[in-house]
């Protein structure tokens, strides 16, 4: 039941909005402090966005016929509280600032000094809210505010990583480089104290590996390593090359998200229905049992609805191969889910956040000139060995993350319009 109250300004307001006092646009011009004015003008869009977010969450929480599940409602509440708390801090500091300003021209010099000190401190608080607190709160909330089903940044940060490397063009050079990259990621994991397992690998006849799958566990491992997805290109003179010509070869890397396993293969599974998975154990064994002693333990899973197939044959245990295969299947399906969410997100906005095509060349390693360039952000590091040792990867990751968050932030601001 809503009670509508008509104010002298003839605008209808729902009780919920009345109970939470809502400043009108006039506050933008209320200030009698020029520094405050400047801050508010520079970050006008941001402030409008924060206000809007609070209002949206306000309404979502109040509505009883909301179709959101309990989980997304709880998440809304959490985000709303944090944002609301930050906003309260803003209004408190702002009010204090305006009060303090009146003492700036006081007769008593002690009062003036105190007022100036306090003003500086309050401006610093307000500035920090604008440049740090609000942006980080806005960015960490669900990427799609309306849908409610999208995966939050917090959730993404909890994922482990599955890295799949496949040799591209370049024959044996590619396989050798693949083996090299496998070591790079293993060292990176060690440096970051993350447990790393080689799930499977296939040696190439001419040395190196044709493909490899690494599992790197621990919160934040996916978030750190996701930037490795794409084609890595190496330019160098092969060991076997007699005429000193430089060869170019490539390795395709795909980093998939891994969620913590929940018990048995099919129990409580959100990503797929066990009925949709066809399990094939390689090669008919004839009579099988005591009659036969074959050592192949290969398993192949086919997820019918998506067409995804996973083969696993590296361990001697058929059962272990099955478990690992399901793990890879889960990772691929979760990856799909995240990609679909990203695409939905980009479809709603002006696409400042770049889409990642898995076949894009992301990095070139040039041995002769001893440099590694990441093409997405145009960052070049002068030390191929340090990058391949895993020591310098963080520099790429930090730069890419910053760039990504900047774009996302600009996307968010563009929501507000002019």
């Amino acid at each position: 039941m809503h009670r509508f109250v008509q104010s002298s300004r003839t605008c209808l307001r729902k009780p919920s909005t009345l109970s939470k006092p809502r400043p009108t646009r006039r506050w933008l011009h209320d200030s009698s402090d020029s520094a405050l004015d400047a801050l508010e003008k520079d970050h006008a869009k941001l402030l409008r966005l924060v206000r809007r977010r609070i209002d949206v969450r306000n309404e979502a929480v109040d509505q009883t016929s909301n179709s959101s599940t309990e989980i997304s409602k709880a998440r809304y509440m959490k985000e709303y509280e944090r944002l609301n708390a930050a906003w309260s801090e803003w209004t408190r500091a702002r009010t204090s600032l305006l009060e303090t300003s009146t003492y700036l021209s006081d007769e008593d010099p002690t009062m003036r000094a105190l007022a100036n000190e306090e003003r500086a401190s309050l401006l610093s608080t307000l500035s920090s809210l604008l440049t740090s607190t609000f942006p980080s709160l806005l960015l960490s909330s669900a990427s799609s505010s309306a849908a409610g089903g999208a995966t939050s940044q917090e959730e993404i940060n909890s994922y482990s990583a599955l890295i799949e490397l496949k040799a591209g063009v370049g024959g044996s050079e590619s396989s050798l480089f693949l083996e090299s990259l496998t070591r790079t990621y293993t060292r990176f994991a060690t440096l970051n104290l993350l447990p790393c397992t080689l799930l499977q690998s296939s040696p190439s006849d001419s040395g190196g590996l044709k493909y490899a799958t690494l599992e790197i566990k621990g919160e934040g491992s996916y978030e750190k390593l996701r930037w490795e997805s794409g084609v890595h290109r190496v330019q160098r003179v092969p060991v076997t090359e007699t005429s000193g010509r430089t060869h170019t070869s490539t390795v395709a890397v795909v980093v998939l998200p891994l969620k913590e396993e929940r018990g048995d293969e099919g129990e409580g599974e959100e990503l797929f229905d066990m009925k949709d998975v066809r399990i094939e154990v390689m090669r008919a064994r004839g009579a099988g049992g005591q009659h036969v002693n074959k050592t192949e333990s290969a398993v192949r899973l086919t997820h019918e609805p998506s067409g995804i197939t996973v083969s696993m044959q590296d361990t001697r245990s058929q059962h272990k191969n099955r478990e690992k295969a399901f793990q890879v299947l889960r990772a691929r399906l979760l990856d799909r889910k995240l990609l679909a969410e990203q695409q939905a997100y980009r479809a709603e906005r002006r696409q400042l956040v770049k889409g990642a095509d898995r076949s894009d060349k992301v990095r070139t390693y040039n041995f002769a000139q001893n440099r590694v360039t990441d093409h997405r952000i145009g960052l070049t590091l002068n030390g191929v060995q340090q990058v391949l040792d895993g020591e310098w990867l963080w520099q790429f990751h930090d730069a890419l993350r910053e760039d990504y968050e900047k774009s996302r932030f600009e996307d968010l601001l563009s929501e507000v319009g002019e």
């Binding site: 049992g289 005591q290 002693n293 192949e296 001697r316």
Partner: protein, 268 residues
């Protein structure tokens, strides 16, 4: 660089087996020796000395029968079956023809810690020794796992265990009939214990005919469970044997991952 002789040997085994042998060999010479044995037909598991079985690594040694993946599969199924039928109960298990002890050891690993007490029976002293070693490796010594050397076909057999009543009986008896034994692949016939494989009756059901009365004597009733592995083509016949004995109910026939009826399960 590898010699030509080595390369020729290496070609004769699959890439996968080469990888496993290489992972296990301490040096090139050892690898070479392993390859020679493998190419001669010796089972990989005897060369490497073990085989994975669920989360366990079971030691294997000639001539004791090497655990098969079909057995691993139904033991997993059985663990699930049992935890649904007897949730949170202490289980007293007897495993006839225990061999390496793989079945009760895997059950001990899959079921809640401390909930399993098992006894393995085998006619072969070598098997009993190996089973005890495997139990120790898995951390499941007495009383979680103990062995007794005995011949289950002997008329005295049930009497030696008369004092005890078991909740679960498992059994993977020899089930290969003489006609099929002769045409077994060399790596099985020439290396694994004939007495662990051969059931000397034309239909291969020699052991199964003895089981219903043994189970009747050893299984608690009601709420006792048994599970026996059978050879291809034997499923229906073994089901009938238990049905005709009239002491059991809810008799099921489970398929293995290759769609062959592999395990007869029933209850008292």
């Amino acid at each position: 660089m590898a010699s030509t002789a080595f390369k020729n040997l290496a070609k004769k085994v699959s890439l996968q087996e080469l990888k496993w042998l290489r992972d296990s060999a301490p040096n090139q010479q050892a690898l070479h020796n392993m390859l020679v044995r493998r190419v001669a037909g010796e089972p990989l598991q005897y060369i490497l000395g073990n085989t994975p079985f669920g989360p366990l690594t079971i030691k294997t040694r000639p001539p004791t029968l090497i655990p098969r993946p079909e057995t691993e599969d139904w033991t997993y199924k059985l663990a699930r079956f049992v935890s649904q039928t007897f949730p949170s109960k202490q289980l007293n298990i007897v495993d006839l023809c225990t061999g390496t002890g793989c079945i009760p050891l895997l059950l001990s690993a899959l079921l809640p810690p401390g909930s399993v007490r098992s006894l393995g029976i085998d006619i072969s002293e070598l098997a009993c020794q190996l089973a005890l070693e495997n139990a120790a490796e898995a951390g499941f010594s007495h009383p979680v796992y103990r062995v007794q050397q005995d011949n289950i076909l002997s008329p005295e057999f049930s009497k030696t265990l008369q004092e005890q009543s078991f909740d679960l009986i498992t059994c993977n008896p020899p089930y290969i009939p003489p006609s099929e034994y002769h045409s077994l692949p060399a790596c099985v016939k020439d290396y694994e214990d004939r007495d662990a494989l051969l059931a000397d009756s034309p239909d291969g059901l020699l052991f199964y005919r003895a089981l219903p009365s043994i189970f009747k004597a050893l299984l608690r009733a009601p709420n006792g469970v048994f599970a026996v592995e059978v050879g291809h083509k034997q499923g229906e016949a073994v089901v009938k044997l238990f049905k005709d004995a009239r002491s059991f109910h809810s008799i099921e026939l489970w398929n293995d991952p290759w769609d062959i009826p592999r395990t007869v399960v029933g209850r008292t």
